[in-house]
Amino acid sequence: MGYGYFNRLLRVDLTKKTIEAIRLPEEYWRKYVGGKCLGSRLLLDYELYKYDPLAEENYIFMLVGPLTGSVTPGVGKTSFFSRSLLTGGYLDSTCGGRLAHNLKSAGYDGVMITGQSEVPVYLSITDHEARLESAKDLWGKGCFETESILKSIHGRDASTAVIGPAGENLVKYATVHADFYHQAGRGGVGALFGAKKLKGIVVSGGIPVPYYRPRELFAEGFRLIRESRPDQKVRFRIRYGTMSTLDLTQKLGIAVVRNFTDGVSDRYDLDLNRDYLKEHFVVRDLGCFACPVPCGKGSEFEYQGTTYRVGGPEYETMSLIGTNLEVKAEELLYLNWLCDDLGIDTISGGVTLGCAAEAYARGLLDDQDLGLSLKWGDGAGFAKAFRAIAYRQGVGALLAEGSRRFAQEIGLDRDTAIQVKGMEIAGYDPRGTTGYALEFAVADRGGCHRRARPIYKEQDDDAYRFSYEGKGKMVKELEDQRAFYHSLIICDFIPSIYPLKVKEYAGLLSLATGWEISFDKAVQIGERAMNQSRLFNVYCGIRRKDDILPGRFFNQPLPRGRAQGQVLEPARFQQMLSDYYAARGWDEDGVPTAAKLEELGIGPGNLEAREA
């Protein structure tokens, strides 16, 4: 056995009710490492592109990585991989909390779930053991109550990851909700749990991970934590969490307002800003396990006479539910809590309701069509809509399909559905950042903001952020670096504020595993992951035609703010896309070339090799 991993994956077949620990070939760990690189490999190996996401044969892989279980900054992440119900293609979705640490401490590198149970169950995992338990009494309950019950049974140190009514009812952007205040939010992993009648996973453990040089690895982690603690970037991040991102997007004129029809929020000056939220609602910081930069915030607020407690608001929720739907701060917090309890992704949920609210405002839909009112700023109306989505009642059944399908079925202009490949885009208007325009367009799981985050490079130079030059190469390089972090798995917030980049993380990976890993090797792991996820998408039918943004961004200039007048130019956007494909070594249709796949050692499905 090597170091840094157990080479034990728990395979659970919910149809056959079997649980077994399987091993992967030893060379898999070195080549694919963990997290995203391994997850995208397993999706190919198990040929999941052949099956409907709702089919019994689909798998959900829940993976950690070789640094999980240590105190390397940013190590608190678990990722889920599957074929997405929302996009029909590649999906990874990541959450924080204590789940990753507990899973590794239980002696596993991951869990593979296939089949479909006839009755609701949950999976309980402890040191080298796992069992399926009845979830009959949990089915139908909200995420908070479900987690509370599971922790009362399995102990407060047990980590819990559950679905709410939205996941049970196959809402295509349902979340998996972990340790009360963390979510695998994007792409509908919750619906895949629901389809398998899996209400949740409970994990606890106390097995030490066999690292190559554990004392040096831990000592280095603590040294970094001690030395970086006074750094201004660290202090600022802890103080405001992601809430301060709205300061940036508002300043740059790329905030999200009324379904991407404006780039400047009027509510920002009233109550949707970090200072107002911090002063009135935030009561404490909430950190992921072993994180030295606890950016999560815990807020307490009253809504219609009841006191609620919620994790957040995070920037994306402030943006896609807050400034987008123009609700008040208290309503934003309530909708945040409601989505968490029902198990709804606030990004896809907010954008989908934004699409419906725009149609309502234009008089294309009325109260009778919807069975509810969706006026901009009407928090109670949006709350009703989220409940209707989670239970698929009335128009909620259609909204539960996501904005693309909703617009199509209702007969709206398809450009009002702000999505890529079926997944709604996050809180950065791409007209004011060509880097994000490209990232959203090519992101493997659909409109995702975490694959490259080019805004860090663009924010201080307006000419550059509106320019198309060099963006293909830039996005490619950022994606590869981040895919390396996502393979360890490291929170991608940390490298932007800590003196830890690819080279340093590669050094820590060497201490964990004993492998010599150069900078180039590390980036290649990321590049391999990106090519595997693309190959999976290609097998699902995704090509250049799908790497495109809604038409609104090409024909409606932003009306005011620092990006006023900006609109994407189709020909230059297409040229940028070609530049990206060229930088990637993909052909003009966005398909990885045989030479590139050979260079990275990527084969097609590899069924015979996957289990040692």
Binding site: F180, P208, R215, F222, I225, R226, R284, A290, P294
Partner: protein, 135 residues
């Protein structure tokens, strides 16, 4: 001399526990940590942090049949490893403590208890919000 923790701002990252375990055992086993964090969620947004406050009553000292626990001149209560037999697994000091600040050892050795790292505690150096100090 004792540890002071500003619990109201704790973000329950558990780095204090991990640094404690590493300093005293070279591992990251939470069962080796003399400071332990328990969030009380979600009905309250509160956290409990348990650790020895080196209280003047010294109930643990009184409870020890081997007289392995003793008060140092600087006020700390320490465990003399050679004298402690863990009460053959009974750990009488553990239930004697009124603040749940002393813990059983996972391997039956002497109890796990804060010794302030001799006056320069590791937990204080890693707490992200700098909530731990020595008073």
């Amino acid at each position: 001399m004792h540890l002071r923790v500003k619990v109201s701002e704790c973000a329950f990252c558990n780095l204090c526990s991990l640094a404690c375990a590493f300093k005293h055992s070279g591992t990251l086993s939470l069962a080796r940590a003399a400071i332990r964090v328990s969030p009380e969620l979600p009905d309250r947004l509160k956290v409990k942090v348990n650790f020895c406050i080196q209280c003047s009553q010294g109930y643990c000292i009184e409870s020890c049949p081997q007289k392995a626990l003793r008060r140092e001149e600087d006020g700390r209560v320490t465990v003399e490893e050679l004298l402690c037999d863990a009460c053959q697994g009974e750990y009488r000091c553990v239930p004697a403590c009124k603040v749940n600040g002393i813990f059983r050892s996972p391997d039956g050795a002497r109890p796990v208890k804060c010794d302030l790292c001799g006056g320069d505690p590791e937990c204080a150096k890693v707490c992200p919000n700098e909530l731990i100090s020595v008073a």
